[in-house]
């Protein structure tokens, strides 16, 4: 009788253990606690043939403040080439935080795209590349090539493309989308 009880108890314990081991969850979701704010986009250009020609432009929208586009104007010379750095900042805190290096470090799934409109004679080609295989453009460093005198808009869009970056602008989500006025004289 005692032997049977022990046997039954042992069998029961083993069954309970197996049942417990089989019923584990296979799904898990985790959320990121905080994102840094991206308040400011700057363009800093250097003429490839004239180092003293360094036009720049700044677009800023600080939370709690007003949208400041008074400095979002880029003046370029006609028929020239410029090396341009695109910078992303968080100016909601003091001192401001430069997020550009972080975006560059995560360049394998970030892409800066440009749209030219309004009859602007401007070509943009990225000069920096990520470490994907094959390497894809990031767009934080670019070559701007101007044509005849004109004016228009240059839209700068930072795409976030986690595991969907192919070099095209379409996939992923948009982290920043700002417009600059460009004058070519």
């Amino acid at each position: 009788m005692k032997s049977r009880s022990i046997l039954l108890m042992a069998t029961g314990m083993m069954m309970l253990f197996f049942m417990g081991a089989c019923s584990k969850a296979e799904k898990n979701v985790t959320e990121q606690p905080d994102n840094e704010l991206l308040t400011t986009v700057e363009l800093k250009a250097v003429n490839t043939t004239d180092a003293t020609d360094t036009p720049s432009a700044k677009w800023a929208s600080i939370p709690g403040g007003s949208l400041d586009t008074s400095h979002a104007i880029l003046n370029l010379k006609k028929n020239a080439s410029y090396n341009v750095s695109v910078m992303f900042l968080d100016e909601s805190k003091t001192p401001a935080s430069d997020l550009t290096s972080e975006i560059r470090a995560r360049g394998n799934y970030h892409l800066v795209c440009f749209n030219v409109s309004g009859g602007l004679t401007l070509a943009v080609s990225p000069t920096d590349h990520d470490s994907n295989s094959p390497a894809l453009p990031i767009g934080l460093s670019d070559l701007l090539t101007t044509g005849a005198a004109s004016a228009g808009r240059l839209e700068v869009i930072l795409h976030h493309q986690p595991n969907v970056k192919t070099g095209d602008c379409a996939p992923g989500s948009i982290d920043a989308d700002v417009n600059f006025t460009v004058n070519i004289n």
Binding site: A10, K24, N28, E31, P162, V164
Partner: protein
Amino acid sequence: MKRFLMKVAPVALYMLLATGPLFAQNDSIVVRDLQLKLKPPLRIGLTGGGSVPTGNFAKTDYTDLRSGFAGPGFNLGLTGTYMITQHWGIAGLVSYSRYDQSGLDNLAAGYVASFAVSDATIRVKDDTHTFSYLIGGDYSLDFCHRIAIDLRAMTGLVHAQLAGYEVQLEDNVSSTFQQRSARANTIGYQIGVAARYNFNSRVGIALNFDYYYSDPDLSIENVNRANNAGRLLTRYNEPITGVNTDLSLVYTFQKNR
């Protein structure tokens, strides 16, 4: 001659009668030993219990590619022990061990950080398990008729499978990628001790503690890894180690004496 026989016969008869039981006893012992050698006990055990992985196999560090993310699981096995002598025997084991996936939070959080996304969903595909086919030696010591201690060391083939998983970044289905489950065969070993209680000459129960080791070389296929970012495992060559704590129901086949 007749006088000689008359004198010797009583002496011979006496010697024969006096030593007869002795001869009979010796014959009996020889026969019994022979029977033991011809029909030694065979024990069969149905074993089950917990498997607790150890070492890198059990690590859940996202940044450490040696992490196996294996959590405690269970094992089920069939053991057979053929006693060659009173203490020494040959043991065989066929067992299945299945492990839970642990550290999924770490894994998901790692991909969240690696791809700078707001959330990541991990879905485990298949499972982590091993099939073991081992053979080795058993040393058995009996105490007080009912209690025995068994020491075992076995080696043999281990078939291992490492679970795969699917990662979905945010709600973008096209970003979903997979680390496929991987399989490999290798040589492993297991050593352990068991305390056995025999309810009678045939049925008993045993509590086993076993340490196991195998080192499979697993090649891992990854699907839809569009970008070079995040934890990417193409090979896993870390030892699968751990401890089994089992209960065994033991049945002994032996000749009635």
